[in-house]
């Protein structure tokens, strides 16, 4: 269960922040900043994931049967979230991606990014990963 262990790693990483929202958001933004530079040319319509207030671009490369993602966002916090998803999903096969259930988000104190709120794009981001995986199966 490799995907479980990445999420557990993430939860461990956030643990030191002790649920402090401000520090958590700051840490998220730092993670986002560490993402590989995204190719400006890939910022086109078909790669967009639309949230209500932020934009996300997501592309991938396939190597052997594994998918490798890269992405960007116009907002720092969403970019941080995206970086976590990339960490979880990149380097996995399509089947592995589809089998991966996300559970880390509540455990790092970011419940607010899931559920009924439509003003964030976490769910749409997650879906985009899965759609890419599906279409490459």
């Amino acid at each position: 269960m490799k995907e479980m262990s990445i999420q557990k790693e993430i939860i461990d990483d956030f643990k030191v922040l002790d649920g402090d929202l401000e520090m958590t958001l700051n840490y998220l933004m730092e993670l986002g900043e560490k993402l590989d530079v995204f190719n400006e040319k890939d910022k086109k319509e078909e790669n967009i994931v639309k949230g209500c207030q932020s934009k996300v671009w997501l592309t991938y490369k396939k190597s052997e049967d594994k998918l490798f993602f890269s992405g960007d966002s116009n907002t720092a916090i969403t970019k941080g979230l995206l970086s976590l998803l990339i960490r979880i999903f990149s380097g996995k096969s399509c089947k592995e991606i589809l089998d991966t259930k996300l559970f880390f988000i509540g455990d790092i104190g970011l419940n607010r990014f899931i559920g009924t709120q439509r003003s964030n794009g976490l769910e749409s981001m997650e879906n985009k990963f899965r759609i890419i995986a599906l279409s490459n199966k």
Partner: protein, 405 residues
Amino acid sequence: MNSFPINSIRKDFPILKSKINNHDLVYFDNAATTQKPQSVIDSISNYYEKYNSNIHRGVHSLAEKATNEFEKTRTKIKKFINAKSNTEIVFTRGTTEGINLISSSLGKYKFSEGDEIIISEMEHHSNIVPWQMIAKEKNLKLNMINVTDEGKIDLNDFKNIISSKTKLVSLVHISNTLGTVNPIKEIVEICNTNNIISVIDGAQASAHSVIDVQNINCDFYVLSAHKMYGPTGVGVVYGKEKLLEEMPPYMGGGEMIKEVKFSGTSYNDLPYKFEAGTPNIGDVIGFKEAINYIENLGKDQIIQYEDKLRDYAQKELNSIDGFRIIGNSENKIGIFSFTIENFHYYDLGLLLDAKGIAVRTGHHCTQPLMDKYNLDGTARVSLALYNTEEEVDFFVDSVKNLLNR
């Protein structure tokens, strides 16, 4: 009935402690609106005291909390009526707005001149006037199914007036004047076989019978929170997703759009397409507690209790001289419209009020039904889960005393 905790239930409803004209309140006007348990009242205060915020587009914590609680009501009602998905649950002010939403939106694309709409003689004005308005606007024909002397839908008449031009049938599930429970499953089945859109007015049914919209298989089901122990100002339109998808919005404004350009606007996804503007957030949140209340008692237990109370009331009421109940279907809930010989309902209403008993008098927003029975009004006793046999006794004694004056 032993297991139904009527004493503790009565304590849950603070208004039941009231004195009216120096008497204990006996509230028999439940078909007009029901009373609210403390949990509903408190949840509204709690919203305003702790997390009031506009919803959906805010990123701050109050907006997030308010949005989540608001949407939890949607999930709750979805389960309560067994809809397939939250996208099928649209919040309105009440049944009246719900029916207007449907008639007006369908009117914009579904109906053309000469099409026919069927309602019944026992409909509430809220299920008559919207159809009269759209019929007038679009030159449609509006037909009314006859109601029998007992107060039942005349099914043969219904089958006779259906034609190839019939586009829609809108019927009350339970009559607010007669108490009659209509065979809506049978009627909807006929509609579905004939490709006719079906609308069910569930204003009276939602608190007093089990609602399963997938089982009924109707296209629309409409209800009001205030008639099911919830606050005023909230209602629900259930609509099958496929229909809601194709329908144009009723109102335009904030929240129901995806993108607004000067050149044109694209509408939001369901159900938001039908929820323009700031909704009644506080009361939608309160509505959830009303459903919780019903679910905690158990709908089946409630119905069992209410059925027994209805039977008791029916027997006792009939012991009053000159008492005539309008609506004697064998399938009815505890709603009794009645006349008493030589006793005008208006006098009766006022005299009972002097004893703390609240009944409704008049045409109950069903004038065509009154006309049918050659009445200009009745008095009406309508029961709810907190009413008791003792209250029925007090009512019957009071009426008898008035008659012996």
